[in-house]
Amino acid sequence: MDGLNFDLTEIPLRTVNNFLHKEAPGQGVKKVTIANPDGAHNIAVGLDFAVEIEVVGHAGYYAGGMNKLASITVTGSAGTGVAENMMSGRVHVKGFASNGAGASMHGGLLVIDGDAGLRCGISLKGGDIVVGGSVGSFSAFMAQAGRMVICGDAGDALGDSLYEAVLYVKGKIKSLGADAQIEPMSEVDLKTVKDLLAAAGTAFTGHDPKDFKRVASARGLYHWNADANQEY
């Protein structure tokens, strides 16, 4: 079985997700198209095998949530929490992404061609996020590990209470969050940005890594400290 089409106006999403969990991995399914998503929530969540999924249209909350191994493309926009807790694989949103895109991701690559809403990459624990447009406020809040490349601007409080995650921003940063600081770009950083842009696809390779700023943790809040004066 090579390619399969599901039309969500004809078949319930629950059946499709169940098929993708239970039967598809054993049947050698390689490519699945999901038509007429009409903003349905929880499309293709919890996948655990290498498969290409194309969601033709807009997805609701948590598209591709907790993904492992699969490569999921949303041709339209995606709602809150796209690719949340992704472990591996790839999720590509061709339109815009709402709040909490890539929240608590542990691995894999999330590509958003357009803008992302509030809290993009919040609680990030690994993996990479590449955003073609801008990200909203509180992005990378408490991000622990992993990398984010933002080709547009960033909103307020970028990287608040960062741990070891590293952010690269091309545009303006409205404000940095507590304990986040701009650091010089090293050769390693330039290569990282170049590689991530290349991995994101040809639409991203026009950006010059030299135009990006590096944002990382000043590590001033790693330990309790009375002199931090509530700057947590």
Binding site: N17, N42, D48, A103, H106
Partner: protein, 454 residues
């Protein structure tokens, strides 16, 4: 040595407002500039299940033989939507406590004992360890704001999922694990730098309000093909509204954790001053379920200061389907005991308590990671003070005792099933407890704010 002739006892009168405890608190604040962090739950006196008593059977009710007649304790959780509800032999479960706050040995001991008596254990903030999965027949996997170590493979391995909104010891606050306990293994599981003072998030990263939570729960259901029960755990505050919203969000089971609930590390001001007592919380939770006609459809687990068989029986009579125990379980394992058992002998630990500035019976120093009896530690030497075998044996005995007490009380009230205990079987010894629990003051028909009069 001789007293001044003018001296009177009143010259050493202690202030009520500025007693030694308060003076000590202010001195501490002045010395450190940081609030106190400690383990365990609220230590202040609170209206509790101790303020209720059962009306055993007599002429108006028919008792069952306390030692012979069957009294069922079977408990089923998650009947609303899940294809595979949780079936337990007893209504007493082990509350969520993390590997990180507890040693891996302890997590294994919890699993072994729970499995032997036929109940469930729960993971905590920090992910699932292979030890606890292997040792626990029924394991509830928590989905917490921090999402430390949250892994879809573990979701698939779990028997139920518990979405944690809050905890009785600290409703509105996230977890905390001080650097001494963030060992290489703990740090690795949580994707954190080793040795940092970890402060968990207090809000979930991918949803905000109850309408979002409904979709989040749906995601977990889709993810698990609607097989596993989904619990929602709240710290007791606005319980009536929160339980209603949890039901609205699609929970199979609601867990309500009162302010006596413990923690391994939280600000003292949180522990003692935020949240409401379990006694008040359980009534509000049941009221919410009654209001929604969800009794018997959505199950209620109550936790926070459940210590004894009578506590369990009273919680059930008030309308809980099960209870969860954390602190009592740790005490059964040896928490606050003056000695520990190692290499075939009892060894005195009082010097180690002293080194922490405390003594057996008073210790709340879980946050230090230097647990004298090897429970709340990640220290390679200290954790050997509690082996899974010894811990499991004590915990099994404790759970069996609670269950025997529970069935004894149920039989005395004439019930063949512990779930048949009802609020009508209870009266209150104090006006406060009567008002909170909505049961009459003993010897009267008075429920303050509800009915009757003296």
């Amino acid at each position: 040595m001789s007293e001044q002739p003018t001296s009177r006892a009143v010259s050493k009168e202690e202030s009520f407002g500025y007693d030694r405890k308060t003076i000590d608190y202010i001195r501490n604040a002045a010395a450190h500039g940081l609030y106190e962090i400690r383990g365990m739950g609220a230590k202040r006196q609170l209206p509790s299940f101790d303020d209720l008593v059962f009306l055993g059977a007599s002429l108006s009710r028919y008792a069952l033989e306390g030692y012979r007649e069957k009294c069922s304790t079977k408990t089923i959780l998650g009947t609303r939507f899940a294809k595979k509800p949780i079936e337990l032999d007893i209504p007493i479960t082990i509350a969520g406590m993390s590997f990180g706050s507890l040693s891996a040995n302890v997590k294994e001991a919890l699993g072994r004992a729970a499995t032997e008596v036929g109940t469930s254990t729960t993971t905590g903030d920090g992910g699932m360890t292979p030890e606890e999965r292997q040792s626990s027949k029924t394991l509830v996997y928590q989905c917490l704001p921090s999402r430390y170590g949250f892994n879809p493979d573990d979701v698939r391995r779990a028997d139920a999922i518990e979405v944690v909104i809050g905890q009785g010891a600290k409703p509105g606050g996230g977890g905390m694990l001080l650097g001494q306990k963030v060992s290489a293994r703990v740090a690795g599981m949580r994707t954190l730098p080793e040795g940092i003072d970890q402060r968990s998030a207090c809000r979930h990263p991918d949803w905000t309000g109850p309408d979002d939570l409904a979709i989040k729960i749906q995601e977990l259901r889709e993810m698990t093909d609607w097989e596993k029960p989904i619990y929602v755990k709240v710290g007791a505050t606005r319980v009536f509204n929160d339980v209603k919203l949890a039901v609205h969000s699609g929970a199979d089971v609601v867990v309500v954790d009162g302010m006596q609930g413990g923690t391994a590390a939280t600000q003292t001001c949180f522990i003692e001053h935020i949240g409401i007592p379990t006694l008040a919380a359980v009534r509000q939770a049941v009221h919410a379920l009654e209001d929604l006609d969800m009794i018997g459809k959505v199950q209620l687990i109550v936790s926070g200061g459940i210590r004894t068989g009578p506590d369990v029986a009273k919680a059930l009579a008030m309308g809980a389907d099960a209870v969860a125990i954390g602190q009592g379980v740790l005490i059964a394992l040896g928490c606050n005991h003056h000695s520990y058992f190692q290499d075939g002998e009892h060894r005195i630990a009082t010097a180690d308590y002293s080194a922490l500035g405390t003594a057996p019976g008073f210790c709340h120093h879980c946050h230090t990671g230097k647990c004298p009896v090897g429970i709340t530690t990640q220290d390679a030497m200290l954790e050997q003070r509690l082996t899974p075998e010894v811990g499991a044996r004590h915990l099994k005995n404790y759970l069996k005792t609670l269950n025997m007490e529970l069935t004894t009380i149920a039989r005395a009230c004439g019930k063949q099933n512990v779930h048949h205990l009802e609020r009508e079987d209870l009266v209150a010894l104090t006006i406060e407890a009567a008002a909170m629990a909505h049961v009459p003051l003993a010897g009267t028909s008075w429920i303050p704010g509800v009915s009757g009069g003296i």
